[in-house]
């Protein structure tokens, strides 16, 4: 699979989620954490959907995670209509959240659940980069 062929449609950036997307532009992963119960919130919000507290702090996350599930999509829609195939995955971040994403720089046939992965960022328009992952190469 040629990763350069993966579409990168720009997400809608709104003030509430701008801190997240601003960081991605700098190829950094920041996540919101509840200032009261410390829950790490996904997708990003400026309040805590777990305890109802109205304030969060943004912290730098490790960018490390593992594959919770993955699939090779062979019939894309919308921006992916002309993409022959791509890997859609749920990655469990070290900090807890499971995020919907793509896996790249990999042989899809050799992926396995539980495999460690590392964040990569793909520029998507002027305001954001998409959070994707690739298998972690040890050593």
């Amino acid at each position: 699979m040629s990763d350069t062929a993966l579409p990168a449609p720009p997400p809608l950036v709104i003030p509430e989620t701008k801190p997240f997307w601003d960081a991605t532009k700098a190829h950094r992963l920041v996540l919101p954490r509840c200032l009261r119960c410390s829950f790490v919130i996904w997708y990003p919000r400026q309040f805590c959907p777990e305890c109802g507290h109205g304030a969060v702090e943004w912290f730098e996350a490790s960018g490390q995670g593992s594959i919770y599930s993955f699939t090779i999509v062979r019939r894309g829609e919308g921006a992916y209509r002309d993409t022959e195939q791509y890997v859609l995955a749920l990655v469990e971040l070290q900090e807890g959240p499971r995020v919907l994403t793509n896996l790249m720089d990999c042989n899809p046939e050799q992926l396995r659940i539980g495999q460690p992965v590392q964040a990569v960022f793909c520029d998507a328009g002027d305001a954001a980069a998409l959070l994707r992952f690739r298998p972690l190469i040890r050593g």
Partner: protein
């Protein structure tokens, strides 16, 4: 207030068309409305409650006008995707039982074949920016669930394929079904992969059409000539990613099922026939587990020996289901209710009629697997 037996489904109608290029969706709504009213022996003027999914026009208002419904005292345009219609019947039962309306009409009409589906959601939907840019598709999400279910429980593609084979076995007896040809497990497994491990034949059909049901008090039902079906229990629940800790191996049926069973005062072992939402084969496996027909993780083993076929332990989707018969407008819930009504009236196709069918379950799953509504109805034979 328990709904148990206080209201009944007194009319039901499934549009016989599957490909209706010359109809509008509104026309289909009207045709099924008139079909269900004729089935009940009622007329437009009898209806004082109206339920639809609100996707066409302005809530329920546009269709109320188009169909010619006057004197409406109660409307509800709850939209929960494919489970909408099971929610509507539950809500209608509550409205009728509490006296807010007397005769409620629920309609579905869809015209989608050959039309490229636009974005599923408006871009300002909160999750959209974090999922759509990654090529999220409905089948992709269900594939993630199937893959994880296989990993955690040892479920196999072959077991999932039997769900389709059972549906196809039933569909051969349904002359209205979109796909009427029997299909083997091997044929499912050799069909092209769409999103691993789901093949083309693990996916439901896309059809035009729809259906309608009429809900009335059990007193009204007793005055009508036609055989009616009692609404014994209803449950609905929403499950989502739980602030980003998504577990894709179960659905909200773990909550909607027990609520419906409790209201009906019955258990899964009492069910003679089940309509189980079958957007994909994995949807059926997971739902059977979540409703308590087998232990969690045992869905594959439960279906593998032909349990879902008529004559099996739990006949499921005897019309051919969404996998073969009908899944109008990407929403199969209405058809699930209608086949359960047929079974309880003794009016299923003779080859698939469950003998002495007294208790049926209909279940809908709306949305994806990452965020969805599950809705369960328990229905009983009118004279039981």
């Amino acid at each position: 207030m328990s709904l148990r037996g206080r209201t009944s489904i007194v009319g039901a109608y499934e549009h016989p068309g599957r490909d209706l290029p010359d109809r509008s969706a509104a026309q289909i709504h009207a045709e099924v409305a008139l079909g269900a009213l004729a089935d009940a022996g009622l007329g437009l003027r009898d209806v004082d409650g109206y339920f639809c999914n609100g996707q066409l026009g302005f809530g329920a208002i546009s269709l109320a006008e188009y169909i010619g419904l006057k004197g409406l005292r109660y409307t509800d345009s709850t939209f929960t995707g494919g489970s909408s219609y099971l929610c509507h019947v539950g809500h209608a039962a509550l409205a009728v039982a509490s006296g807010k309306c007397r005769i409620a009409l629920v309609t579905q009409g869809a015209r989608v074949r050959g039309i490229v589906r636009g974005p599923k959601l408006p871009p300002d939907t909160p999750e959209y920016a974090f999922e759509a840019p990654y090529g999220e598709t409905n089948i992709g999400i269900y594939a993630l669930a199937a893959q994880r279910h296989m990993y955690e429980y040892g479920t196999t593609a072959r077991q999932m394929a039997e769900v389709k084979a059972a549906a196809a076995y039933h569909a051969q007896f349904n002359p209205d079904a979109l796909l009427q040809k029997p299909v083997t497990v091997e044929e499912v497994l050799s069909s092209p992969l769409v999103a691993d491990p789901l093949h083309r034949l693990d996916c439901c059909v896309i059809t035009d059409g729809g259906g309608a049901v009429i809900v009335a008090s059990s007193e009204v039902a007793a005055d009508l000539k036609r055989r009616s079906v009692k609404i014994l229990g209803h449950g609905e629940a929403i499950k989502h990613t739980m602030s980003g800790r998504l577990d894709v191996t179960y659905t909200a049926a773990v909550w909607s099922g027990p609520a419906a069973f409790e209201e009906a005062s019955v258990s899964p072992a009492d069910i003679d026939y089940a309509s189980i939402y079958d957007s994909f084969t994995i949807t059926v496996l997971m739902t059977l587990e979540d409703l308590g027909f087998c232990k969690k993780g045992q869905g594959g083993a439960f279906v593998a020996d032909g349990a879902l076929r008529v004559g099996g332990r739990l006949p499921v989707n005897t019309d051919g289901g969404g996998l073969c018969n009908n899944h109008p407008g990407y929403q199969g819930g209405m058809i699930k209710i209608i086949e359960a009504v047929r079974q309880l009236r003794g009016e299923a196709r003779p080859q698939v009629q469950v003998k002495n069918c007294e208790l049926a379950l209909a279940h809908g799953t709306g949305g994806g697997i990452s965020r969805l509504c599950s809705a369960t109805l328990i229905l009983g034979r009118g004279d039981a």
